[in-house]
């Protein structure tokens, strides 16, 4: 089957990289009713920065029209920090001398109840990539323990095979997140030094496998700071458009995390400023008014509060990014440091103050999907 890696192989990167845009191209993009990828690129260009107020206004309008005041809240739950990869930007990399933990059944239940007690009903399961110890056998055992507790279960682990996704859907996984980090092969190779994650194509074609398995929703993303972010953003947009055509019944979300300090991690050589981050989020909203845009707790509470009414529709709150972080071992080392450490309750209160409606449940558990 043709997959995204083939599309990417045929993409003329040089042309994408060399393309320049003037004010007229930005104007065209701002007034287009549907954006072409060229329009999208124009909105990412330096020429669009002076038009940031117009970009924000259009993003706000589209977000309001599509989502109204509703904003989805979820919490990550880290299952394990075991990892068989070496990624130079990640605190969970195998060479890092940190205490490793895989949650046992009883620990998982304890953690899940702790998250539930915070008010959450949508749970994102996260694990380092360790096929042998935290693979399908582990998920098969753990997911049924969680399914009765949450209305939506999301999963962010190593890329798996199509059959595995089919089984995970049956087990009750509604959303699978897999971030490409970067679409640029050279940069990808530079940061991913050991383990299965070195296989860029396996990761690149993963959303194709998730979609083919009929999973309800796919989360895509890039890690800003690894490479030329404008190019990565255009390739991510290309990926999204491709997947939307391949899988019209699938929903999508996009997250654009910026590289954060972590234990043993690198400093970014491609920093993205606040202004550029906002520009980037605006461009994605104009490209795809219907998708969820997620903003991580790694961003400051100030920036989050400013962006939430304008274009962000899904957010984590009160997050702990280490296994056992909520209850079992709250003192252990996190995957990355968090900036916005407000509790879920405070976040919901803040949303209300901002004229937004916190949504904890967006799917009736008894509908019986999965």
């Amino acid at each position: 089957m043709r997959s995204f890696s083939h599309v990417l192989a045929q993409t003329d990167w040089v042309a994408l990289q060399l393309a320049t845009f003037d004010t007229a191209a930005v104007e065209r993009a701002l007034t287009a009713s549907t954006l072409s990828l060229t329009d999208f690129q124009a909105l990412l260009s330096p020429a669009a920065l002076p038009r940031l107020p117009q970009l924000l206004e259009k993003a706000r309008l589209l977000t309001t029209q599509q989502f109204g005041a509703a904003r989805q809240l979820f919490a990550p739950l880290y299952l394990s920090n075991l990892c068989a990869n070496e990624c130079t930007y990640c605190g969970f990399s195998m060479s890092q001398a940190i205490k490793r933990r895989v949650l046992t059944d009883s620990e998982l239940i304890e953690e899940a109840h702790a998250v539930k007690a915070l008010g959450h009903d949508q749970l994102l399961l996260v694990a380092g990539e360790h096929e042998r110890k935290v693979g399908m056998a582990y998920f098969r055992q753990q997911i049924p323990l969680l399914k009765p507790l949450f209305s939506r279960l999301m999963l962010e682990v190593q890329p798996l095979a199509s059959n595995d996704y089919r089984e995970l859907k049956q087990l009750g996984i509604d959303t699978v997140l897999v971030y490409q980090e970067t679409y640029q092969a050279q940069a990808y190779a530079k940061y991913h030094l050991k383990g299965k994650k070195m296989d860029m194509i396996w990761r690149l074609d993963c959303p194709d496998r998730i979609g083919a398995a009929g999973v309800d929703k796919i989360g895509l993303g890039i890690l800003l700071g690894l490479a030329d972010w404008r190019l990565d953003a255009v390739l991510l947009a290309t990926h999204l458009r491709y997947l939307q055509q391949q899988f019209p019944y699938c929903q999508f979300s996009i997250a654009l995390p910026r590289l954060r300090p972590c234990s043993g991690g690198i400093e970014s050589s491609f920093p993205v400023s606040d202004r550029e981050l906002v520009q980037l989020y605006c461009a994605f909203r104009l490209l795809a008014p219907e998708i969820d845009l997620t903003l991580s707790t790694r961003e400051s509470s100030q920036l989050r509060d400013l962006l939430l009414p304008l274009m962000i529709t899904s957010l984590s709150a009160g997050s702990k990014t280490q296994p056992g972080g909520y209850q079992v071992a709250p003192q252990s080392l996190q995957q990355f440091s968090i900036d916005d450490d407000r509790s879920a309750k405070l976040m919901a209160q803040r949303l209300t103050e901002l004229g937004l409606q916190p949504v904890w449940t967006n799917w009736h558990p008894a509908f019986g999907r999965g």
Binding site: Q65, F252, E290, N362
Partner: protein
């Protein structure tokens, strides 16, 4: 008012999504003068105080019409309808099946399948559907209590883009036609009523307006205006200017 299953209903129906707060929704509902609000079952948590969307509406004397929004096939929609019947003690359901994630287009095949079964299960079925005259006939034959074709894409505020097809649907229908989606301005609602629709359902245009209460007021007045225009039997538009009524004068002369 018009009737469905012997229940008199207002000509302006509201959706409950996208509002900033339940209070604002309630204020808009009051200003709209409606007696029927549709609520997505997926947003209701049974056994939790966050049924707070429902109870204030019921206290205000508003009838709740549960909808199956979020369902991607007939099976899910039927399950949702059964759950709603249990939770809200109503056998009415607004059937919504939109597997298409991007434009939320209603699925004609699954909607028809679900409608047939729900009618057999004793539901009063109001299906949200494409503006397809043949499909609306089939839904009517399946025993639906009304049909709810879309004016334009849901949430798009584009108005009556499907006008030509809606006119055929209204002409053919033996059940009330409620125009459900895409109405962005009170004038769109007015035009729908003038065209002969039994009612309109509005959500996004009111919920996302800077002032939802004013928007709800505008829609209430527009619906009244549309009904008045219908009752007045205003003359149809014409390309030519007509001085007075020369034909009538001639016919009088000839008689």
């Amino acid at each position: 008012m018009f009737t469905i299953a012997e229940t008199p209903l207002p000509r302006l129906l509201l959706g409950s999504g996208k509002f900033a707060s339940p209070q604002l929704m309630l204020d808009a509902v009051r200003a709209s003068g409606t007696g029927l609000v549709t609520v997505a079952l997926k947003r209701i948590k049974p056994g939790q105080p966050s049924l707070d969307l429902i109870s204030p509406l019921q206290q205000a004397g508003v009838k709740i019409l549960p909808n199956t929004s979020g369902a991607v096939d007939a099976k899910e929609a039927i399950f949702a309808a059964e759950l709603a019947r249990e939770l809200l003690q109503t056998n009415w359901v607004k059937l919504e099946i939109h597997p298409d994630a991007r434009f939320l287009m209603p699925d004609p095949e699954q909607t028809l399948i679900a409608a047939r079964q729900l009618v057999k299960l004793g539901f009063v079925v109001l299906p949200y559907c494409s503006a397809d005259p043949m499909l609306c006939l089939r839904l009517q034959e399946a025993g639906c209590a009304a049909v709810m074709p879309l004016g334009s894409a849901i949430g798009s505020n584009q108005g009556l883009q499907n006008k030509a097809m809606l006119e055929i649907i209204i002409e053919q229908a033996r059940v009330p036609v409620i125009i459900d989606a895409g109405l962005g301005q009170p004038s769109h609602a007015c035009a729908a009523l003038e065209m002969g629709a039994a009612a309109v359902l509005v959500n996004t245009a009111i919920a996302t307006a800077a002032d939802p209460v004013q928007a709800a007021t505008g829609f209430r007045l527009a619906v009244e205006a549309g009904m008045a225009a219908r009752a007045a039997r205003c003359a149809p538009p014409s390309l030519h200017a007509n001085a007075s009524s020369p034909i009538d004068s001639l016919l009088t002369f000839l008689s």
